[in-house]
Symmetry: C2
Subunit: 159 residues, 2 copies
């Protein structure tokens, strides 16, 4: 059981829902964010690529927004999955969330050439709607904070 | 004069500030967003790449956040440049803005395989701080809306 907490939720998304450029394991061009439990919070680590530049030396805002966005939906999926009695890696398909809204405050320039850490704190609005409060750190210095409102994927995303 | 309004502000950023993954003309891997005046509003067009998938068939949120982010800073640059008496293409380096905060509401799934249009409406908070209200359309259907607070690049972005 303890080990399962260290499996990323994105590993368990159904194949049809595993193509996201940010966090889909099947998107070969994508960023492959992986979201895990860390005690009662959630965490995603990511090392930006050299081309993820804003002003030279710093990470562009869109990458941070993407990280916060996918960390939010992944965290909500972890939370509802646990509420339903499951952990990543136990063979049960987790709920797939999408983003209703995203807010990011850019607190200071975020350096390139470091591993970023997004930490999420969960707030249940409704079992199918979670608010995730997210802090992004580079070398333990907080560079951004965000809030994601994530909802269980509605039917209009289905082809 | 009229023709100059159809030059993108990003074409005039100083070389040192033209590397953004979202909108830098010198970033070979980047998205190359281009922001222009359209009457008193601003516009950026972008056709997502096939890999910019969320759920198959739809655009991932991070791409929309990036588009809104760079459209916001580009719009603020256009606005302050005009306030200073200049238009893109007149040979004067425009002010370079960065993002203080970004908010996105995802209104409906955004289809891939279409050209997206971001339209910005400017609100001056201070000459060095502009709030840009942005609507994103796919095939004339609004899919997202956002607000960017853009500020003139502070000294801590300088190497």
């Amino acid at each position: 059981m303890e080990n399962k907490k260290h499996v990323a939720i994105q590993n368990d998304y159904a194949d049809d829902y595993a193509w996201c450029y940010g966090c889909g394991r099947l998107n070969e061009s994508g960023l492959h964010f992986k979201t895990l439990w860390q005690d009662e919070q959630t965490v995603t680590y990511y090392e930006p690529r050299a081309e993820h530049t804003a002003i030279p030396g710093f990470v562009y805002g869109g990458l941070l927004a993407s990280l916060i966005d996918c960390h939010g939906t992944g965290s909500a999926s972890l939370a509802l999955h646990r509420k339903n009695g499951h952990e990543p890696g136990d063979g049960i398909e987790p709920p797939r969330f999408v983003t209703a809204s995203l807010h990011v405050d850019f607190l200071r320039p975020t350096p390139l050439n470091t591993t970023l850490k997004a930490v999420g704190t969960l707030e249940e609005v409704h079992p199918k709607r979670w608010r995730v409060h997210i802090e992004v750190f580079a070398e333990d210095i907080q560079c951004a904070k965000g809030v994601v409102e994530a909802v269980v994927m509605p039917d209009n995303f289905k082809a």
